[in-house]
Each structure stands twice: as structure tokens, then as C-alpha cells.
């Protein structure tokens, strides 16, 4: 498995929670958002999104709800829950601390 896949796999929960914190979305919409906003970096086998969403739903971090679009089609929208938001805050703090620590080392090395 490539390094990029490993990184995506380890951060998929945080990415999904961050996106759903902005607005409720359905699966395909999430794929498009991830792809568009990361300029293609977060491109992965799309089917693997659903196990991640279902895992988060089982853990009570998101809540799925079928809704009807104006076109009459039904889509399952995912909403972040309070527990999900608290997890996102924790994950964001850990991520920023990690990033800060990595930057202190990498940037110091680049500056030498």
C-alpha cells in the first residue's frame, strides 16, 4: 500500500468529521468535496468511504438520515453528532500539535 493510502486511511475519520461539521452530506457528495478541495490528493477507492461512514455511525459520531432531494431522488445524508463534534475537536487539537512538532523538526532541518 502506498504512503498516501496509509495517510488517508489513518486520517479518514478526522476528514469526514471535519467535512460533516460544515454541513450534512451524502456519500457521493463527500467524495466530490474531498477530491475537489484537496485537488485530487484524497482520491481513493470510493467504495471504502462507506465502511468508514458506517463505522462512524455505529460509534455514534455521525447520524445517517434518508432525505428526498428536490428531484425526488433519495439520498442518505450524514450529520455530525455532539459526540462526533467533541471527537473532532480532540482530533483537531492532536493533529495541530503533531503538525507543529513535525514542522519544528523538518523546518529546522531545511533551514540548516
Amino acid at each position: 500500500m502506498s504512503e498516501r493510502h496509509e495517510l488517508i486511511k489513518s486520517s479518514i475519520d478526522s476528514l469526514l468529521l471535519a467535512l460533516l461539521n460544515e454541513k450534512p452530506m451524502y456519500g457521493y457528495q463527500i467524495i466530490k468535496e474531498l477530491d475537489g478541495r484537496s485537488q485530487g490528493y484524497f482520491r481513493f477507492k470510493e467504495g471504502t468511504l462507506y465502511p468508514a461512514l458506517h463505522r462512524l455511525e455505529k460509534a455514534g459520531l455521525v447520524r445517517g438520515k434518508w432525505e428526498t432531494l428536490p428531484s425526488g431522488q433519495q439520498r442518505k445524508y450524514y450529520y455530525i453528532t455532539e459526540k462526533g463534534y467533541a471527537t473532532l475537536v480532540d482530533k483537531r487539537t492532536s493533529w495541530l500539535e503533531f503538525l507543529n512538532a513535525v514542522n519544528m523538526i523538518i523546518q529546522a532541518e531545511a533551514g540548516q
Binding site: K45, E46, G47, T48, Y50, P51, H54, K58, Q73
Partner: protein
């Protein structure tokens, strides 16, 4: 819906092994994803079939998707784990505390097992039901074993009445269970090799005498221990996410229980009997898996019909 998409969804469905309502929801969600993506791909100039083909490629292997979704759903709660292991725990306690000698505790157990099984059978048939279902088949096994003590010349009773009835009942239960998942048949039949092993250690050829009861009394803690091993295996089965690990832990619980019996029976089990018991244990895993494979491929026709795609 194009053939390639239908095949993909069929493939996901046959590997999902979830509750029917969850299964339908997963398939609907994937179908809407495919629908949206095909529409977008068609806007880029692709034809319907080409767009479907690209979309399926982007989704990835149906088996992998199904396996990962199964793992997201497969972990039962601690409450379900407790409920599933409860019949093993109760049977373990019956022997550890020597309750088996009193008619009241045995009757209470029987009523509890049968009523829980009936309730579970008519309400969703969740995974916790199957150990209870296994114990509710005990009266059938006990009736079969008691036929061994019939006077000579009464074998026709077994052949004409007992065997057809017992086989019909087993067929009904298995054919309903296999539609869900073959591993539940193994979960259901897991106590059988253990019960038969303990029966064989009682020197059953002499008939039920005071000595038999004494042997049960002597073996009580070990009989209890073997059921506790099953209980531990069932708790792990419910809590583990990965399917292969679920099967492995259940099989190991059976191996540990039968090995405990072989160790503490101190030579009362002959080598051939022990070998047959382990083969029986293996068969309660292999036969259901083969039956399910046959049912899915349509080899068994309508005998074990698999649920069609809705």
C-alpha cells in the same frame, strides 16, 4: 440499471451477511452513489455502459467493500455478547453448582431456553439467539440418546419416528439459518460435540445407574468448565469484527472444551471416539459453509434456497 452494476450490487450483497434491513440500506446507498457518478461521467461524453464500467472500477472490489462494511457492523454490544453467552454460562453453573440433580432448576432452565428461543426466532433472529437455539435442540438430542436404551427390537421406533422428525426439525432450522449466515449454524451446534463428549465419558453402555450419576457429580466442575470455555468463545465471537477471527475463536472454543473433557475423562474416551468428536466439531463448521456455498451457486436448487436480490 446496467448488468455490470446489478452484478456488482449482487456481489456486494452476497458478501455482506448483515440483517436484511441493514443490507437493503447499504445496497440502496451504493446504488444512489453509482447513479450519481454515472450521471456525472455521462456528462463527460461517456456512454451509459462505459460510465457504469468506470464507476465500478472507481468503487473498488465488491468483496472488499462488503467485507469492510460487514466489519463496521459486525461488532455486537456487550449486552448482546452477554445474552449470547448466557445459555453456556447457565449450563456451566448448573454443573458447577450441581443444580442438575434437582428437577426444579432443570425445568426452569428448559422453560427459559425454550421461551428465549421462541422470542428470538420471531424477533429479528439476532446473533444472540443461536446459542439459545442450540440448547433448545437438546430435548431432541436427549430423546435420540435415550433411544439407545430401548429394549431390543424397538429400533424401528427410531427409524420410523425419531429420525425423520429430528432430521425434519434440523432441516427447518438449518434452511432458515443458512439464509442469514452459515456461521450461525456453527454457533448453534457448538455445544453438541461437548454434550456428546460428556455423555460418552459416562460409560453409557451400562445404562443410567447410580454410578452414572456419581460420575456426573465427579465431573461436575469440569463439565461446568467446558461450558464456560464455550461462553468465553461466544463473547469473543460477538465482540470481534473480523469474520475469519470470529470463526477461528468459535472453533478454538470447541477444541478447548473437547480437549478439557478428554483430559479430565482420564482414558474413558477411546482414541477413535476422540477422533470422531474432533471430526464432528470440524464438520459443524465445514458442512454449513459448504451448504451455503452450494445454496449461493444454486447447486442445491430449492432445498436451501438463498435469498434473492430485492
Amino acid at each position: 440499471m446496467s448488468t455490470i452494476v446489478q452484478e456488482y450490487l449482487d456481489n456486494v450483497r452476497s458478501n455482506l451477511r448483515l440483517e436484511p434491513s441493514d443490507e437493503q440500506e447499504v445496497l440502496s446507498e451504493l446504488a444512489t452513489h453509482i447513479e450519481d457518478e454515472i450521471q456525472d461521467l455521462k456528462k463527460t461524453g461517456l456512454r451509459e455502459e462505459e460510465a457504469a464500467s468506470v464507476c465500478i472500477r472507481l468503487l473498488g472490489s465488491a468483496k472488499t467493500v462488503a467485507r469492510q462494511i460487514y466489519e463496521a457492523h459486525s461488532q455486537g454490544t456487550w449486552r448482546q455478547a452477554l445474552l449470547a453467552c448466557l445459555p453456556h454460562l447457565l449450563f456451566g453453573l448448573v454443573f458447577l453448582l450441581n443444580w442438575w440433580r434437582g428437577i426444579v432448576p432443570v425445568l426452569v432452565m428448559l422453560v427459559m431456553v425454550l421461551s428465549t428461543t421462541v422470542y428470538g426466532w420471531w424477533h429479528r433472529r439476532s446473533s444472540w439467539l443461536f446459542p439459545w437455539l442450540g440448547y433448545s435442540l437438546l430435548p431432541v438430542v436427549a430423546a435420540g440418546l435415550s433411544l439407545l436404551y430401548l429394549p431390543r427390537g424397538f429400533a424401528w421406533l427410531a427409524v420410523l419416528i425419531y429420525l425423520p422428525l429430528a432430521l425434519w426439525l434440523l432441516y427447518r432450522v438449518v434452511s432458515q439459518t443458512i439464509k442469514k449466515d452459515w456461521v450461525y449454524i456453527s454457533l448453534m451446534l457448538l455445544p453438541m460435540p461437548v454434550i456428546i463428549s460428556w455423555f460418552l465419558t459416562t460409560e453409557w453402555r451400562e445404562g443410567f445407574t447410580v454410578a452414572t450419576i456419581e460420575r456426573f457429580y465427579y465431573f461436575g466442575p469440569w463439565i461446568g468448565g467446558s461450558f464456560l470455555a464455550l461462553a468465553f468463545g461466544v463473547v469473543s465471537f460477538v465482540r470481534i469484527r473480523k469474520r475469519w477471527l470470529k470463526v477461528a475463536v468459535l472453533f478454538m472454543a470447541g477444541v478447548i472444551a473437547v480437549s478439557l473433557i478428554a483430559f479430565y475423562a482420564r482414558g474413558r474416551l477411546e482414541f477413535v471416539q476422540l477422533l470422531l468428536l474432533f471430526l464432528f466439531l470440524a464438520s459443524i463448521f465445514l458442512i454449513p459453509a459448504l451448504l451455503e456455498t452450494g445454496a449461493r451457486s444454486g447447486r442445491w436448487g430449492k432445498i436451501f434456497e438463498h435469498r434473492p436480490m430485492v
